[in-house]
Symmetry: C2
Subunit: 365 residues, 2 copies
Amino acid sequence: MEIIVSKDELSKGVNTVNKAVPSRTTMAILECILFEATNGEIKLTANDMEMGIETSIDGEIRDNGIVAIDAKMLTELVKKLPDNDVSIKTENTIAHIKCGKLKADIPMRNGEDYPRIPTVEKDNVVTISQFSLREIIRQTIFSTSENDANKMMSGELFDISGNKLRVTALDGHRIAIRTVELRDSFDDKKVVIPAKTLNEVSRVIPGGINEDVSIFFTNNHALFEFDRTTVVTRLVDGDYFATDKMTDMDFGTRVTINRKDFLESIDRSTLFLSATDKKPVIMDISDNTLEWSVKTTSGAMSEDLEVVKTGEDMKIGFNPRFMIDALKVIDDEEVTLHLINPKMPCAIKDDKGSYLYLVLPVNFA
Amino acid sequence: MEIIVSKDELSKGVNTVNKAVPSRTTMAILECILFEATNGEIKLTANDMEMGIETSIDGEIRDNGIVAIDAKMLTELVKKLPDNDVSIKTENTIAHIKCGKLKADIPMRNGEDYPRIPTVEKDNVVTISQFSLREIIRQTIFSTSENDANKMMSGELFDISGNKLRVTALDGHRIAIRTVELRDSFDDKKVVIPAKTLNEVSRVIPGGINEDVSIFFTNNHALFEFDRTTVVTRLVDGDYFATDKMTDMDFGTRVTINRKDFLESIDRSTLFLSATDKKPVIMDISDNTLEWSVKTTSGAMSEDLEVVKTGEDMKIGFNPRFMIDALKVIDDEEVTLHLINPKMPCAIKDDKGSYLYLVLPVNFA
């Protein structure tokens, strides 16, 4: 293979696919980036066998070829290249790279040995703006959990019904649900996409409001397509949790509070909390005041906040980090806590049904 | 003790002395910051027994007192306080802190048990602008070494003679020497100041060109005084290395090169170098070209640079990181390498004698 590409194109391509290069693997060839210069197109691919990323870059092909170049070396090299055209010429086990007066030889492997990304039939599509997809991932992903005992928690449910996309994530302590309206209506479907893939997708997509992502589904795979890049991922196999019963409850007490003040205040309560001392923050809600307090072996802290309450007074304990995670990704100026009693979860949700964050209480007796 | 201070003053004071709180210590009280509210002054102190920092802050004293408050808790708390006046009221083993509607109790100890910073007589002074002191530390400190076998390498020689301050650092592989002119003349003196202290001093001083630091010396201590802060440090005991013979050599070959180009180019050579594969970069200097190359088990790299050379051709090996460290802190547009032969050190120095960086070569046969 012999190609000539600009430093910027090479850098963009390498950094896009790089996220699918596994950090640890027993298959040495996966530590490479596959370059395919064929049919007038230069395509880069990386694949960790769960997720694969493929992207095309502009450049001149002097000699067709399919080679696998060491990803770590190439990534580091590309960072430091001068702004200039880059020539990559491969020979046996070495990729000769030239840029300006710089010459570098880095190791490569036979491209034919590189495992191909599964082919995904493109019959079943959903289209969403890059911005919406990135937002909905950011607003839910913290509620997933890398749980080997329950694979389902390591993914997010994408539930498409008409022109609505509802995304659900839960980790056994809390649930995050976000709903967005799509511009068009699509066939109903429910799939569970690994959080790891969603994380990488949200990093790779530029995130424009006017740019779309097409998502194609088969029984076992999803394919994200945007710009000149595709990301293919395995789906998590099985039925997702039935969350309707957990979220459709009769919340008797409602507490409305300024979101930013609440967030900043609760954030202080984490000060004395360490990995070893996981004390809950206790919220004592009465009349128009929410007083939170926390007491650990290192010290004690409390603060009063003004609220508008309807329903009964309540004293209830929470892991403050779960509250913080939810409050951080809500854009509303005010939020409403929906409570039942100190043994039942608290819901932070809006009236429009665009978000619902459910947090289990912690016993503080 | 009972004091009221603004959040900003408290934050400034805590962050200034904090750098002298030891991260690990067998004396639990050193994990505290000493607060002294006496004679109408609020003074904060921290001390790791090598170095002590003391600073005064503005505030209202409602009740005199000397207390030692847990540094870690206080620092974390101060970061998260709302912008408001902070009241600190101590009682037995607890410091009650109030700020707006926030109340926090954090642990404290008896201030009388806190080890005092040594008193330094102020007869012997040197004055230097904060900017110059910070620059000269930055430009030399990377050549020191935390070497238990040779304590002297962990410090920098401050050699004052008339209106000149010469600072020397060396770690066995390289030497860094910087000379600055002071505005006034002072008594001659030579002291070795621990690099750790210099590091902290350069972080704490604001660094203004028109603001001065006064440095006072005794046989065993130095005291840095600026604004409302003093830093006291032990000196490294003993005679510093005699570096004159190492630096006054007859360099037959001179190579002048654009500093920025050289730095960016040599920086690329570190790409294939890992902690385990410490190959030198080999510089092949002939006519008007410097070609460096490096070859490791991971790959090979080379680049040509234009230079102006006088004297003999030369092929010599270096640890590229040592070159990079020196090139980074030189401000000149061009630098000149002074060489003798492949077994002798290379000097990067200017004609004015304001800097000299000496780097030992590495055998590459």
